[in-house]
Structures are given as structure tokens and as C-alpha cells.
């Protein structure tokens, strides 16, 4: 059965088409275009002068480029062309057949090639920070500066569970994940009002202003007669399985040769990694800078865009 949900949702507005959509300090990107990578569609967003030196921003898991609407304008206004993209399955990028960490790093490289830059500074938040860390490690000639915003997984958050309990727990988790995959072909997201979608996101973003979350609904969501839905691919699910270990990400940090800035928000919350300063300090590369913010949660750039913009600009100058 074909329904309205099969139609591609309208693309989030740019600065010139934003109309009444606004939030204090936020500014929609100046430009949007689609990049097609071997059949995969990625939505690329830019703030600032198209001829200014580029800097790449990478968003976190289950976010989208619009979550930089407060940080990116501050960096753009200081003389940069800020480029970000909606990761596959997120925001206005199309759903993908497959998702993986390495695929996202490959997509980032495709965006860099489309920018036309041989090498450029990269800024990543959360999962995006870890992706940029891997990009900098595996393609050092592509990354001139690295800024990591609360995107340094460490092994701290792992539960210590007895083996016999672990078998039962794992059995349930594996079966639940496979059951989800069996239903993934027909899943749709649950509709609701803007307020309801914002309230759901508040469970992942408990420290953020509800007005900001309502603003995000109108960028990362779309409206149909029965309500709003998040655009993110319903086939995606938190809590997949794989051999990935958080310390693998941190282990890439000491090898980096470009200027590195790591920022950690010390207020622990649900989407964060629980990483502590001592986990970072021993792995900081030679000459690297580490800033820990006591009074800030995981979404450092949303909570304190001016402070983060100043740190980024100082690092790039």
C-alpha cells in the first residue's frame, strides 16, 4: 500500500526560506545541496561565505546538521565556510540500505572531496567526534586541525554482569535486535504534535531548552495529516550489536599529528560516554589541548555555543 509516508519529506529550510522558524541565537544554513555517492543521497549544508576557508562539522548519532544552527553561524561569521552533512539515514539524507561506523567515515570523505579541499579543519560532536577522530587517524593528509566535542568514548560505562546473567541478557538483546530487523522493512515512526516529538527527544536531551527541541522538530521532522514524525530512518535503532569497543576510539587519539582540541562536558547524561578527564589526559597527543567544562552536559555546543565557538576559533587561528 502506497501512502503519504512513502513520499520524500520536504527538505528543511535554509536561511532564506526559514520564514517564521526561529530560535534565539540560531540561524539556518545559507545553502543546501544533495551529494550523490554511489547511489546514496547525502544532504550537505553550508553556513557563511562560499569562498571562505572551509571547516567540516560532523553531528552526533540521531542528530542532524541543523543541531549546529547555533554554533555554526558564530564560526561562519568569523570568516569560515562551515560545511556539515546529514549522516546517512539522518535528517534530509535519504535512508540507506546499510549503516556502519566505517560507512559514515567514508561518507565524510566524500563530503570533503565535494568541498574540493585537500585538507581542512574538522569539528565533530559525540559520534561525529569519534568519526572525525578515525578520519584523522586513517586519512591524516585530509585533516589540518581536529576539534572533538564530547566525542571520546572510554570503557567506563560498561556494566559488570555475572556470566550466567550475561548469557540471558544477551540472548534477549540479540533476539530483540533480530526481531527489529525482521520488521524493519515496514516500520514507520510514531506521529505526534511538535510538543510530543520534542518531549520524546527531551529524554535524550534532558538538559536542553524545550523551545530548542521544538525548533529541532521543524528541521529534523516532517508533517503529515496525522502529525509530525522524525525523518530519521525507522530501520535505524539504538543498541545494535558489533565488536566495537569504546577504547578503540580513544586508542586513535595518541597517534594524531595535527593540532588537536578535545572538549569534555563533565555533567554526565544519557547520551554521553561517561568519559572522565583522566581518561583523556593520558591519551592526549603531543601538543594537544584538553578542556573540561564542569557545568556543561554532553551537548556542549548547544548549551554554550559562544564558549565553544571561541575555543574552536582560537584553535583554528
Amino acid at each position: 500500500m502506497t501512502t503519504l509516508l512513502d513520499e520524500t519529506p520536504p527538505i528543511a529550510p535554509t536561511r532564506s526560506t526559514a520564514g517564521e522558524l526561529s530560535h534565539p541565537g540560531a540561524r539556518r544554513p545559507d545553502r543546501q545541496r544533495f551529494l550523490h555517492v554511489d547511489g546514496l543521497r547525502l544532504s550537505v549544508w553550508e553556513w557563511g561565505d562560499a569562498d571562505a576557508p572551509p571547516v567540516l562539522f560532523a553531528h552526533g548519532g540521531f542528530d542532524f546538521a541543523g543541531t549546529f544552527d547555533t554554533l555554526a553561524p558564530l564560526v561562519a561569521d568569523a570568516g569560515y565556510r562551515v560545511v556539515s552533512w546529514d549522516q546517512r539515514g539522518h535528517g534530509d539524507s535519504g535512508p540507506a540500505h546499510l549503516y556502519s561506523w566505517d560507512a559514515d567515515v567514508g561518507d565524510a570523505l566524500a563530503v570533503i572531496e565535494a568541498i574540493g579541499a585537500r585538507s581542512l579543519p574538522v569539528v565533530g560532536h559525540s559520534k561525529g567526534g569519534a568519526l572525525m577522530l578515525q578520519l584523522a587517524d586513517t586519512q591524516p593528509h585530509r585533516v589540518s586541525h581536529l576539534v572533538n566535542l564530547d566525542g571520546l568514548p572510554s570503557a567506563r560505562s560498561w556494566p559488570d554482569v555475572p556470566e550466567h546473567h550475561r548469557t540471558r541478557m544477551l540472548d534477549g538483546e540479540l533476539a530483540a535486535w533480530l526481531d527489529h530487523r525482521r520488521q524493519a522493512a515496514t516500520k514507520v515512526r510514531r506521529p505526534g504534535t511538535i510538543e510530543e516529538l520534542a518531549a520524546r527527544r527531551a529524554r535524550m536531551n534532558p538538559r536542553l531548552d524545550p523551545a530548542w527541541l521544538r525548533y529541532l522538530v521543524r528541521i529534523g521532522g516532517f508533517e503529515r495529516p496525522d502529525g509530525w514524525r522524525w525523518k530519521i530512518d525507522p530501520a535505524m535503532r539504538l543498541g545494535g550489536f558489533g565488536p566495537w569497543r569504546p577504547e578503540w576510539s580513544m586508542a586513535r587519539l595518541p597517534s594524531l599529528g595535527m593540532p588537536v582540541l578535545c572538549v569534555l562536558g563533565l555533567e554526565t547524561e544519557v547520551m554521553g560516554w561517561g568519559t572522565r578527564p583522566e581518561d583523556v589526559e593520558v591519551n592526549l597527543p603531543v601538543g594537544g589541548r584538553f578542556v573540561a567544562l564542569d557545568d556543561v552536559g554532553h551537548f556542549v555546543h548547544v548549551e554554550q555555543p559562544r564558549r565553544i565557538a571561541d575555543l574552536v576559533l582560537e584553535h583554528l587561528s
Binding site: G61, S100, K127, D137, L178, R181, Q183, R200
Partner: protein, 272 residues
């Protein structure tokens, strides 16, 4: 074990399927439902299964009496046109699954392969077949192990044999690495060059592999749910062989062991 997106589901919303997942259509010379076709020696018949946006080709290679045997090809391979001779001793029906990006299954856009997604491919075949004994070559051997651990009650033994892609990317991450297939690589048909790239560097720690072996041993009700027939033993497989309940055996011996297993007998056993 748990991936980078390490939280429980249901943060964004509780998504629900509109309908049952079944989106099965059929292709074959007879035009009949593959699962109903029983003509001995009939030409290979194919069932297509929907796994998210991927259409998987599940081939019936041969009929028979007893439990089903499901063949999992190696990296870059595809299901053969007929049941291989080295499986001739199997008394039951023999099936083969083309994994995502291989054979007659969908060629995805832009890669992103993981062994876990191929494990879910196998789970879709298990949903269609009910239960099966798995025999995997190379990459298919690793995927068979994962499926045996994740669906211990639906896999009546897994036989791990040599084949392409057995080692994967080794037990730990490495760098630098190519992120996308090189320009000029043969694209637009299977096997997907992204599959060759992604699954040749897929990281396979020994303790990750043994986790699945333990799930199979503790929950399958089989005394030896995993049989290793492979001569080549990369670190993940060497670790698995050391687990209780995992045995090394030639292919004929392993086939004979699992040919006698029925799910009813397994279900009678106490679990855990």
C-alpha cells in the same frame, strides 16, 4: 558487545511495524511456492525475502527428507547453481542464501556492511525455513557462528569451513585504511566492491566470537552446536575452538551429527 549507539531503543519514539514483515515473492521455473515444491531433482528455485530495503535471494538447491541445511557462501561468492557434492550425504533439503550485495540479492548503495547485518540476513532465512543446520564457507562460517549464538533455538548446528573472508580484518582495529572502493573498481553488480572492502576489514576479536559460541552452547540444547571443519584458523576461530561444546570435525562427520538432530528433541532438553 553493544555498539556505539549504546542506549536502549525508544528514545526518539516507539516505532511500530505497520504490518507483518512478510514481503515474500517467488521466482522459479514452476512458479509454485518454493517451500511447497517437492519435485526431486527440480531446478534451483528462488524465494525472495525482504530485509529492510534489501531483497534477499534464498535458493532451494535440492529437496530431501529431514531437517534443512542452509549454505552460506564466502566473501565475494554466491550460492552455487546446485547442491555441492561435498554436501551430498545430507538427507534433508538443501538451501543456499545469497547475502546482501552477493549473487541475486540487492546491491546496496554506498556500502556499510557488517557481519551482524549478514547475521540478520541469515535470520530472515531462518524465519522462512523454521530452523536449519548452517554450513558456512569463510565469511559465511563467521556469520554462521553469529547466527548460531543469536538464534540458538533455530539453528540445529553450525559447520564452519574454509573459504574466502574467513579471517576478516583480524582481532583489533588498524590504520590507515581505504574508506571507499578505488575508482575504476567493478561496480553496479554483485559481488559489491563495498562488501569486499568492508567485510575484509571487519574486526573479529576472539572474545567476541567466543561470546556467540557460548550462547549457542548454553541455549541451543545441543551438546556440540558448533563444528569446525576449517583447516585455516584465524584468531577468532582459534579462540572458538578452545570453547567447551565446540568440536573439530571433518565435514562428513559434522553432517552426520546434525542430520540426526530435530528441533523437537532439542526442545525437550532443559535450557540454561
Amino acid at each position: 558487545m553493544i555498539g556505539p549507539e549504546h542506549l536502549d531503543a525508544d528514545h526518539l519514539d516507539a516505532d511500530r511495524p505497520d504490518t507483518d514483515h512478510a514481503d515474500v515473492d517467488h521466482r522459479g521455473s514452476s512458479g509454485t511456492h518454493a517451500a511447497d515444491a517437492t519435485t526431486p531433482g527440480a531446478a534451483r528455485e528462488t524465494v525472495f525475502l525482504a530485509h529492510a530495503r534489501v531483497r534477499l535471494a534464498l535458493h532451494r538447491l535440492r529437496d530431501g527428507e529431514g531437517g534443512a541445511l542452509l549454505c552460506l557462501h564466502g566473501l565475494g561468492e554466491r550460492t552455487p547453481d546446485e547442491a555441492p557434492r561435498w554436501l551430498a550425504a545430507w538427507p534433508g533439503p538443501i538451501w543456499g542464501l545469497d547475502c546482501t550485495g552477493h549473487g541475486d540479492s540487492t546491491l546496496p548503495a554506498g556500502g556499510g556492511y557488517t557481519a551482524e547485518i549478514l547475521m540478520a540476513d541469515v535470520d530472515h532465512a531462518l524465519a522462512h525455513l523454521g530452523e536449519a543446520t548452517l554450513v558456512g564457507r569463510g565469511l559465511g562460517a563467521y556469520v554462521a557462528l553469529l547466527a548460531a549464538g543469536a538464534r540458538p533455538r533455530a539453528v540445529a548446528g553450525a559447520i564452519l569451513t574454509d573459504g574466502p573472508g574467513l579471517a576478516g580484518g583480524g582481532p583489533t582495529p588498524h590504520s590507515p585504511m581505504w574508506l571507499r572502493p578505488a575508482a575504476g573498481t567493478d561496480r553496479g553488480r554483485t559481488p559489491d566492491p563495498y562488501a569486499l572492502l568492508d567485510l575484509a576489514r571487519d574486526i573479529r576479536p576472539g572474545d567476541y566470537a567466543t561470546t556467540y559460541a557460548r550462547q549457542a552452547v548454553q541455549l541451543s540444547g545441543l551438546e556440540t552446536p558448533i563444528s569446525v571443519a576449517a583447516v585455516v584458523r584465524p584468531p577468532w576461530l582459534a579462540a572458538v575452538i578452545d570453547e567447551p561444546g565446540v568440536t573439530t570435525a571433518g565435514i562428513p562427520e559434522a553432517l552426520a551429527r546434525y542430520a540426526g538432530v530435530t528441533r523437537a528433541a532439542v526442545a525437550d532438553r532443559p535450557v540454561g
